[in-house]
Amino acid sequence: MISYPLSLNYSLAPGWLEPFVSGLETGAALARKCDACAAVSFPPLRVCPCGATDATWVTLPGTARIELRTYGSDGAFGLVRFDGADTRATVRLVDIAPDEETGRIMASDAQRPMLCLTTMTAKEVSHG
C-alpha cells in the first residue's frame, strides 16, 4: 500500500440556483413559482412538472411541517413541507425536539449552503 494524500478545493458556481443558495446563507427560503400553473417548488425546480420553464422567485415564510424524521449517528434529518410550497424538502434538523412537528429555516453557519430546519420560538408557534 502507498499513501497518497490529496486535497481538493473546489470553486462551484450555483448557476440558476443562485437565489436559492444565497437564501440558505441568510436563512431565507427562496422558491420557484411556475408562471404557467402557479405550482411552488422548494427546493426550486428549473422545469415545473407541468412542463413550463418560466417561473418567478418567491420568498416563503420559512416555516415548515415535519412529516418524517430520522436520527442516529449520521445526524438528524427530516422530510418536511415548507409553508407555501407544493413539494417537500429533505433537511437537516437542528435542535428540534422529537415531539416538535414544525420548524423554521435557519441560516447556514457552515461554509456551505446547508438546508437546515431549527426550532421555532414560542411566539412564532402561537402565531401559527
Partner: protein, 393 residues
Amino acid sequence: MHDATVTVSGAAVTPFNRRRDGTGLRDWAASAFDAALAMSDLHRGDIDALYVASESDFFHLQLNPASVLATELGLAGVSATRCEGGGASGQLAVHAALRAVQSGAARHVAVVGVDPSASSLPGDDIRTLYGFSFDAWTDGMTGLTSTALYALSYQAFTESHTVSDSDLATVTIQNRSNACHNPGAHLGRTDSAEDIANSPVIAHPYRRLHCSPLSDGAAALILSDTSHLPTTRKSAPRVVGAGAATDHMHLGARAKPGLFSAKTRAMQRACAEADVTPSAVNYAEIYDAYAGAQLQGIAALGLSGDVIRDLRAGRFAPNGACPINLSGGLMGQGAPVGATGVAQTATCALILEGRYHPDLQPQTLPQIALADTHGGICTTSAVTLLAQGARAA
C-alpha cells in the same frame, strides 16, 4: 435492428471483501475477466468491445479506467467505454453491452465492473462521497447521508405497508445467512434479531446491521451473439430483457417517496422486451443497500402482490418459490459499487446454468432470473432479465 439473441457466454465474480493482500483494482479486474473468458470458450481476440463500470474516480484515483483496463486485460484495440450511474453503474454497463451485441455492432463484448470501495479511502470519506450521489446542491451540501435518505424513504413505505422490525431482521438474517455459504462473500454472519436490534442506530430505523458494507472486488461477463458462439456455449443462459428508468432526483418532489417508481418503470420495459410478466421471475438478485430497500424493491418490481405476507411465508427464502439474493446480496456478499450490477447478472447466469456455489445452487433450475440495481435513492434504476438458453432459442 440486427436482432441477435444474446448469450451470457462467460460470468465470474471475485471475492468481495476488504483486501489486505496487496492486490489492487487491476488484479481484481483481470481475475474476473480471465475467469469469464475461460468459461466462454472464446479467446481475447474474439472480444470486440469492453464496457467498464466504476462509480467514481474518487475511489481509485484512475480517471478514464476503461482505457487502462483495455490494455491491462490484453484487449488494446477494442472500443472501451466507461458506464456510470451510481449504484446502477454495473447494470448500465450490462445494458450497453447487450445493445452493442443486439445491434450487430459487436459479436462478443466484455463487461467488467470494479471498485475499491473498502481499502482505498477511510470509510467516512467514502460515505461523504456517497452523500454527493444525490443532488449535490441540496442533499449533498446539507450533509444528508445515503442511510438517512433511505431511512426516510423506507418510513414513507411503511405508511402503505404494515412492516415490523422483525421483517427487517428477516431480510438481514436471510441475506447474511446465504452469504455464509458463498465463499466469496464479505459479510456472512449469523446475527440474531436481538443482535440486530442492539446494533448502533445509524439513521432510524436503520441500525448498522441493516446496512450493506463497503467492499473491494470485481465481476465480469462476456455477452455474445449466440450465432457466433462455439457449440459448447450456445445453450448457455440468455439476456432476454433490459430496462432502465429514472425518478425525480429529490425525494421530496416525488408524489410517493416510499415507492421506487423508477424500478417499476424499468421492470415494465424489461418485461416488455422479454415478453414475460414479473410473476414469471423465479430467481432474483435485488439491490439491498439497506434491509428495507429490498422490501421496497420487491414491491416496486411486482414480484409480489403482498411483499410482507410473502416474506413471512418464506417465498424469498432459499427453498422458496422465488429465492432472492442467494449470493447474500449487497448486505451479505458485499458492495464494490461498480462491480455490484455485473456480479448480480453473473450470479443469475451461473444459477440458471447450474454452476453456482454448490451449497446455494437451487436443485431445480429457475427459468427466468432478474438482476435489479439502482443508484441514488432509486433515482436511476436498471434491471436485466435472463432466461434459460433453451427457452429463448
